[in-house]
């Protein structure tokens, strides 16, 4: 078990990295492994599994497994359970660990030793990294790691992950980890901890981080804290929607240029249509969201790494509680404004299974970035550009209303779920508020990089296939010699659209809109490309401006305009509430462990979308808009 030598050609030893939350474990993991990381899932459970490879000077390797942050090995959340199961080798499909690296932070060393004692009880060889020693020095905390090493019989190494101090020593110790020489008692652990730390660790009495406390007095203040929270949210959304716009325009331009170039090289016909309209337009309409994803993850990583996120969760606890949830559900909801997939994955930190499920089920109601192009298109085309109250425009208000709609609907849905299907006693809400710190650039960069990579991979697979399928359905069966509109009408997609036309008629839609929304069920962002195909925008001019004109001028078969303000509102409300995203449904199935909840999400959201669209259409039409 105790690997003291490393052969280059066999699988390198696997070292589990454990630690309390907020000890800088991930920063240390990133410092040791850099970009040599593989992100996946543990078999059978939905916890993110991050493994990295550490290259040693003699060209051999060590594999490091970044286990979720936990205070104990007997935790209750899905994340925490994995830690205990991996260490006790109870998880199927996992290689047994050859050693454990415990990351402890020097300021709370005593609390961290609870976990150290539990790890030592497993009997695995172990190395303890005492992190943030630079911070400890400045606070006058004295820790004698050599003495702790002697007492425990394992290596205890002082490091600073952010300053990359002590990493060589740590790597050296990881090559030949030792098993503890002392027996850790099962009872009276706190006495054992006290006697172990006695004389080796001195924390100045009454040590507090008064600077963080002062900041907290403002940021968690009932009034100023709420204002600060509101300001932070405004900045985050500003970043996602405004600052990313130039980057999105650049991608849009590149994609249509690329489409034209490729299109001009292929002779006109079915194959060109497949490549340009199917593949390039389909994938391009999704890749365009990359800047928003990057900005959102940048903002979330900064807020998380500097320590603000738990304060935001604290401020939101009261509101979330009213929905039957806790402040912990806030971060997943915030993530869902970019994309419900990372949002749903972020629920893994919620211990209470019912809270977690309720959060998963309402997260897709938050308006994700894929809805934005739909809103942008219809608002620009149909909502008059008039100012209300001086500087607030009607267009901006409509946009805000659509974003609020999801939030406002999520409240009763969550409440109802928690009162019926997901009723039960709640797990106490206990959350650490770490000291504020300057965000670590490397941690943030890696997070943004991984998020963007995952997003592009999805665009290259799921969306690519969906785009081709939609293209095929809109193209076959072919009507020889007919114009585009007629061939679409007779295609499989057109036939389906006309079949469901009676269902969507009360919403003010014609069969072409039915086709467009039907095509958007795999991924709602596809609708823009579908509308362009359906309303026969000239080839090579698939930019938003010409599409807008085509929609404004579109006529029904009886010659009346296809779109009016009520129709546009009805479409937007439908897209705001509908579960048009196969990836979200797949991730709900994976995270909830059953297709049942995915099916439930699909049915309740689509039902809500229909009722909502119907209501807004009736009200708007009744008001004479």
């Amino acid at each position: 078990m105790n690997s003291t030598h490393i052969e280059a050609d066999e699988e390198p030893p696997l070292i589990g990295v454990v630690g309390n939350p907020n000890t800088g474990k991930t920063t240390l993991f990133n410092a040791l492994t850099g970009l040599h990381q593989r992100v996946g899932n543990y078999a059978g459970v939905t916890v993110e599994r991050k493994q990295g490879r550490l290259r040693l000077s003699d060209r051999s390797h060590l594999d490091l497994l970044d286990l979720p942050g936990s205070y104990t090995l007997d935790g209750r959340s899905p994340d925490e359970k994995v830690v205990g199961e991996v260490l006790k080798n109870q998880l199927d499909g996992e290689r047994p660990l050859s050693a454990v690296l415990v990351v402890a932070d020097v300021v709370h060393l005593k609390r961290n030793f609870n976990l150290v004692s539990e790890v030592l009880q497993t009997g695995l060889p172990c190395v303890v990294a005492v992190n943030m020693v630079d911070l400890g020095r400045s606070k006058g905390i004295a820790v004698d790691c050599a003495r702790l090493s002697d007492r425990l019989g394992i290596d205890v190494v002082p490091v600073s992950a952010t300053r990359r101090e002590g990493l060589e020593d740590l790597i050296d110790c990881l090559r030949r980890p030792r098993s503890a020489s002392t027996e850790v008692p099962v009872e009276d652990v706190s006495e054992w901890i006290d006697s172990t730390l006695e004389g080796a660790f001195t924390n100045p009495p009454g040590l507090t981080d008064s600077r963080s406390d002062r900041v907290d007095r403002a940021l968690t203040h009932p009034v100023f804290g709420s204002l600060a929270f509101f300001a932070v949210m405004v900045i985050v959304f500003q970043a996602i929607f405004s600052w990313s716009a130039p980057f999105m325009d650049a991608i849009d331009g590149t994609v249509s240029l690329f489409g034209n170039r490729v299109g001009s090289k292929i002779p006109e016909g079915l194959f060109r249509s497949l490549v340009v309209d199917g593949a390039i337009a389909g994938v391009g309409s999704v890749v365009i969201f990359l800047p928003q994803i990057a900005f959102l993850f940048f903002a979330i990583s900064v807020l998380e790494d500097c320590g603000y996120m738990p304060r935001a969760a604290l401020m939101m606890d009261r509101l979330m509680r009213w929905c039957g949830l806790s402040g912990r559900s806030f971060i997943p909801m915030l993530c869902s404004f970019a994309c419900a997939v990372p949002g749903i994955m972020a629920t893994r930190t919620i211990e209470d299974r019912r809270d977690r499920l309720a959060t998963i089920l309402v997260a897709p109601l938050m308006s994700c970035s894929a809805r934005l192009p739909v809103y942008t298109l219809f608002i620009a085309a149909f909502i008059p550009k008039v100012a209300i109250l001086g500087w607030v425009g009607l267009q901006g208000l409509t946009m805000m209303g659509l974003y609020l709609l999801g939030v406002v609907i999520a409240v009763p849905v969550a409440r109802l779920l928690k009162r019926t299907a997901l009723e039960g006693t709640t797990v106490p809400f206990l959350m650490e508020l770490p000291s504020y710190k300057v965000p670590n650039f490397r941690t943030i960069w890696l997070r943004v990089y991984h998020a963007c990579y995952a997003f592009l991979r999805r665009a290259g697979t799921v969306i690519f296939v969906a785009s081709l399928v939609i293209w095929a359905l809109a193209t076959f069966p072919r009507t020889e010699g007919a114009d585009d509109a007629t061939s679409l009408r007779n295609s499989a997609l057109g036939t389906a659209g006309r079949l469901i036309e009676p269902v969507v008629k009360p919403l003010g839609w014609d069969w072409r809109l039915a086709v467009a929304s039907l095509s958007a069920f795999p991924a709602r962002e596809i609708v823009v490309a579908s509308l362009a195909t359906i309303y026969s925008v000239e080839e090579g001019e698939e930019d938003v401006e010409s599409l807008k004109l085509a929609l404004v001028n579109a006529k029904r078969e009886d010659g009346s305009p296809a779109f009016t303000i009520p129709v546009a509102l009805s479409v937007m409300v439908f897209f705001a509430l509908c579960a048009q995203c196969s990836s979200t449904l797949a991730v709900i199935r994976r995270e909830s462990g059953s297709w049942g909840w995915a099916g439930f999400s699909f049915i309740y959201m689509t039902g809500l979308a229909y009722v909502g669209a119907l209501a807004v259409y009736r009200v708007a039409a009744g008001a004479g808009l």
Binding site: S190, T208, D216, P428, F429, L430, L433
Partner: protein, 90 residues
């Protein structure tokens, strides 16, 4: 820190056990007991909030913030009410 003196200017007796949620902001206190059932007790224990530990309350309200030797933690008032403390004179 070790011994307790009564303070006259207070309505409540300074050596009387009170709920954590009734402490004043920044008032030091020692935890006497945690009576929250296994679930809450275990969770509090794992973060170093257990009998015998000295704490300070940093924020009052629906969500309280308590500072112990294990760091700064936020919990709900109704859970904080299950923690009995004895105020200490700083």
């Amino acid at each position: 820190m070790g011994f307790i003196l009564p303070q006259e200017d207070e309505i409540r007796g300074n050596d009387k056990p009170i709920n954590l949620s009734d402490l004043r902001v920044n008032e030091p206190a020692r935890i006497l007991s945690v009576d929250g059932g296994d679930n809450l007790n275990d969770r509090l224990d794992s973060v170093g909030i257990s009998p015998g530990v000295d704490v300070r309350l940093l924020r009052r309200g629906a969500a309280v913030v308590v500072h112990g030797e294990g760091g700064r933690f936020c919990l709900r008032e109704e859970d904080a009410r299950r923690i009995t403390v004895r105020p200490l004179v700083a």
